[in-house]
Amino acid sequence: MIRTAFFTSRADTEPTPETLEVASLVRQTLSGDSAAFEGVILRYERRVVRLATKLLGVTEDAQDAAQEVFLRAYKYLHRLDLQKPIDPWLMRMTVNVCRNIGRSRQRRQNTFCHCETPPAPAGETRRDPYRDVVEEQERQMLWKALNSLPEKERIAVTLRDIEGLSTSEVAAILETSESTVRSQISRARVRMKDAIDEMLGGRQ
């Protein structure tokens, strides 16, 4: 990681305006103006909290995770390669922080882990109370199914299908190959489909 900061690749494509802007905020922060870091937080906190919520299922935990992510980012800001976008780096830290929180939570109490579901999207017009109940039930069962996937598959499929990132973006975040990501998400999708079949079959 330190090496990439030293040997910055200049042959890559031109950095985007966003990358340049973040790079200038990072430079200011590193030269002692820690207020410039607020700009970085404001720009990325929603993405970090959103991913943490999907990985942890609990909003309060996700907030703690996001806080930890930005503190770590601040601490290791000098390791960042300013030629490249900051997002994969932040997402990678988010995944790692959430993994740690998840593990310590599992150690503390097993039951705590699999029963929490993140809040449903609010503000949609409710036409049919019966439909609402069904949808809520489906939502809970799908989170449960997602949470029961093996950790690596769950993280990969969350980034790819629920966050909507591309396979190569997921591979960059998880620091693995695209083919590894493909095999993880393919298995996860099949498992999710089986869980859905079971769920719908059980209801009818």
């Binding site: 999907k54 806080q67 390791r79 489906e138 799908l142 299908d161 493909r182």
Partner: protein, 242 residues
Amino acid sequence: MNCGHSREILALFIEGDLPAGQAERIRSQVQACAECRQTCEELRASQSLIRARLKISLQTPSIQQRVMSQIQNERRTLGWAVQIERAFVLSFRGRPYAFAGLTVLLVISAVLLGQPRHALPTMEVPLGYRSWVQVRDNVYVDPAGYREYMKTGAFPEGTVFVRELARSEGNKEPDPHGTLVVSVKDTSRFEGRWGFYAFGEKEGSVAPSNGTCQPCHAAHAQTDQVFTQFYPVLRPARMDIG
């Protein structure tokens, strides 16, 4: 499945996750296989259900305040390791050759400093020394060293003396020197030309004890730190008495 497509491959196919070439092959085979088409439909349905139901609402207060106040506290306690690393990275950023040069320099100096200054060799009890040339009742010298000395009056490199410290049976008091002392001429490894070793009851190799032995040998021995004055056999070649 008839055409042998795994559901996993189809799960990638329906989301466009396969590399172009493979995707084309699967596409034509899926068109030909009703069962595959059915599986693809089911997978598409489950994927869209997942997308629809696993949306989350995010109405959380900004964490910016919390993080910034933490940072103010933590700035003083960033940790010296991180601070050194940061100073290092920032001063060498964009200067990879300077960094590479410094690294090489550090490695070389670490290797040089890590080596023991004068690694003095250890020694084991010489095998069969009792068949060597006996120069006194309890002192032996190796035959090659003996011959050379008798010819030239000087001890060649590698000459070995062995002195047994056996005592009479009644005397149980241990000799402070041990049971056997050995000296070897090795100018390249010993500043004082000779290495002195004292063996005790235990077997195995011992480190040199030049500090204990050499001062006396250097001060009182007649010929090249060897007590030739006490070894009548070596008398004929002594230079000092001609």
